[in-house]
């Protein structure tokens, strides 16, 4: 049974009582202490924990940033911990139709437990509720109705978490905006770690989520900008947290000619990797690129890699390569002059980190706080707010090889320091260690009765 929202405050108080004073500074202290030590030896020293990853969809055939992020983290942490993924049977995030069979499966060596979605999303109702919640006057009930329709509506998944919470040391929830995270974090608050993957949109301003961000034991942020946005929205500075993000695994060797030879690409090009979608800023990119080419007469091509959600203009200079294998993708990235990232809504751009991993500069949309912040902090990319900045920045990047090289080197250093898997795993382990330390020093919780365990209360 789902707890009423009114109980959230009580759960929050319980969760807060299990924390040591100091909040995020405690993790920061642990992080500082451990930062100088070898990560590999840290992994060996880490206690083997029983971890559950709870995410809306899971699988190799599932597209989606947060889902991919979750899969990568789960697979990497599975090397040093006992990991189980708890998810729905859905593949499609629009309808949440049950497409996978319920029960336990094995995906890349990780145990995955899938639960049926009881009610698929009704697009009409969801649209009406969204309109009311984001544009009209509304109350908490409307927000909760919107959340139910947002889905994936799977009470069975929540029941499992409540019944079997003793089987896990920590439960890591991905994507705060979905049903599973909202009610799941409430159900197992003393063990919950939240990876919000929040973007700068209207959902973060909903009242119901303000309480949610105060519930978990710790929050794993993707970027400094995301953390500040959540702090502003919910005032949860007291909750432990660290900026971690997700790692990138660079192949040991990259054949830079492979992509050019396979696709007969000659001359310099900039590459866009990701879904070709107006929501990802691709329409703006095409308009800007067309104008840039007309005004400057540049020979720089635009190569697009990824799925297509819009028509790609058939114009000189634009080449759509479609979905590519990992080897081809890395090859395309390695032989490009730069990566262009026109999206305005990014919680963390993995492909930007990948470009920096191979020493390529980035031209990013400055309207996205995360991308702008990353470019500034890394000193590895330029950004644009409008066409004029796009043009000037691109002219400079195209013409100045020394600048490209210097930015690329900075990017490589930034990736090495923050986004290698050893670093990311180390940060997760330090959060776990900090929570374990707290758990050891607090009185043990009273054992739940047999009936409570069976019924899932």
């Amino acid at each position: 049974m789902i707890p009423a929202h009114g109980k959230v405050a009580a759960v929050a108080a319980e969760a807060r009582s299990s924390r040591t004073p100091g909040g995020s500074s405690a993790v920061a202290a642990v992080t500082r202490r451990a930062s100088g030590k070898n990560n590999r030896s840290a992994r060996n020293r880490t206690e083997r924990l029983r971890l559950a990853f709870v995410v809306q969809r899971y699988g190799e055939d599932v597209n989606g940033g947060a889902e991919y992020h979750c899969r990568l983290v789960a697979e990497h942490l599975a090397r040093s911990h006992q990991v189980e993924v708890v998810t729905s049977c859905a593949k499609d995030y629009i309808t949440w139709r049950n497409e996978h069979t319920p029960g336990t499966h094995d995906v890349n060596g990780v145990r995955v437990r899938r639960f049926k979605v009881r009610k698929p999303r009704d697009p009409d109702r969801f649209g009406r509720l969204s309109q009311k919640v984001f544009l009209g006057r509304h109350g908490e009930d409307d927000e909760l109705a919107w959340l139910d329709e947002q889905g994936p509506f799977s009470p069975a998944l929540l029941r499992h978490l409540r019944r079997r919470q003793d089987d896990y040391d920590y439960v890591i929830f991905f994507s705060y905006r979905y049903y599973h995270s909202f009610y799941g974090v409430q159900a197992v608050a003393p063990k919950a770690i939240l990876v919000p993957t929040a973007e700068k949109d209207d959902v973060i301003r909903l009242e119901v989520f303000k309480t949610l961000f105060n519930l978990p034991r710790a929050i794993v942020y993707n970027s400094i900008e995301e953390r500040e946005m959540i702090w502003r929205a919910s005032g949860n500075r007291g909750v432990k947290g660290d900026v971690v993000g997700v790692g990138s695994e660079v192949p040991a060797s990259i054949d830079a000619r492979r992509f050019r030879d396979g696709h007969a690409i000659h001359g310099p090009y900039m590459v866009y990797i990701g879904r070709v979608d107006p929501n990802k800023g691709c329409r703006t990119l095409f308009n800007y690129y067309r104008r840039f080419r007309e005004e400057t007469g540049s020979r720089l091509k635009l190569v697009l890699i990824g799925g297509k959600q819009m028509k790609v203009p058939e114009e000189p200079g634009i080449y759509y390569a479609g979905f590519l294998s990992e080897a081809d993708k890395w090859s395309a990235l390695a032989s490009a002059e730069l990566l262009v990232m026109p999206s305005e809504l990014e919680s963390l751009s993995m492909v930007t980190n990948e470009a920096w991993a191979v020493g390529k500069p980035v031209l990013a949309n400055g309207k996205c706080d995360v991308l702008r912040g990353q470019c500034r902090r890394s000193n590895a990319g330029l950004y644009f707010d409008d066409y004029y900045e796009f043009k000037e920045a691109l002219v400079r990047l195209e013409s100045d090889e020394k600048l490209r090289k210097a930015l690329g080197e900075n990017g490589e250093r930034y990736y090495r320091d923050h986004y290698r898997w050893e670093v990311v795993e180390g940060k997760y382990n330090r959060i776990f260690a900090s929570l374990r330390d707290e758990d050891r020093h607090r009185p043990p919780a009273p054992k739940r009765g047999l009936l409570a365990r069976i019924a899932g209360y």
Partner: protein, 236 residues
């Protein structure tokens, strides 16, 4: 937070971006920014209907220069010649050969259509002028009405406030007089309701002088009390 930064290179992205912006600003001098262009595009196109800008003699002036913008076409036009000397001869010859021309095709409908079109052009100019005049007038009317509406709105607000003030004064007076005889538990709302029922306005009317009908109409002790206060005539 300090952990998320990469130093150790002489490249400073913020300095590069500041330099790029400076360069753009220099280039943009004298040009419209994108925001300004958007603002211009969204601007209401009502300048043409501005009464100050509109020239009411426009149509008359335009029609007086008819030859400069319109063509004139009469049944004789097709026979005319631009030659100054032999023009008359050519015109006579063409007219003479007109029956031969009519063997090939009938020029009369063309002459008629072109003549009519020439007239229509004049009518269109006049009609457009009249419509523009009418729209300008309507625009002025609309502006006047809007301003009257604003004035009326202010007056209504003022009257509403005035009425509320009077009501407060009236209910305050009647409530206190009634409360003297009633139990102390009666609420202010009840007092207000009673005041609106009839007795509430009496003190106000009485203050403005003379005996009111209200005092005569209302029965019971309040009526007799007022009658007593106002004079003997009230009791008849």
């Amino acid at each position: 937070m300090s952990t998320f930064s990469a130093k150790g290179s002489d490249i400073d992205v913020e300095a590069i971006m500041a330099n790029i912006r400076k360069k753009i600003d220099e280039k943009r001098k004298g040009l419209y920014t994108e925001d300004e262009v958007r603002e211009i595009a969204e601007m209401k196109l009502d300048a043409i209907l501005d009464s100050n800008e509109f020239n009411s003699d426009f149509a008359a002036a335009f029609r007086s220069r008819d030859a400069q913008w319109n063509y004139t076409f009469t049944p004789e036009t097709i026979y005319q010649s631009s030659h100054s000397g032999g023009g008359g001869l050519i015109r006579s010859l063409r007219k003479l050969l007109n029956p031969v021309l009519k063997l090939f095709f009938n020029p009369n409908p063309i002459i008629s259509a072109l003549t009519r079109q020439s007239d229509l052009n004049r009518y269109y100019v006049l009609m457009l002028h009249n419509m523009t005049t009418e729209m300008t007038r309507l625009n002025l009317d609309l502006t006047n009405l809007k301003s009257r509406l604003r004035t009326l709105g202010v007056r209504v607000d003022f009257q509403t406030k005035r009425e509320k003030t009077f009501e407060k004064v009236a209910t305050g007076g009647s409530g206190s007089s009634r409360d003297r005889g009633s139990s102390s538990s009666s609420s202010s709302d009840e007092g207000r309701r009673r005041g609106r029922g009839g007795g509430g306005r009496r003190p106000y009317r009485r203050r403005r002088g003379g005996r009111s009908n209200a005092s005569g109409r209302s029965g019971g002790d309040s009526g007799s009390r007022e009658g007593g206060g106002g004079g003997g005539g009230g009791s008849q």
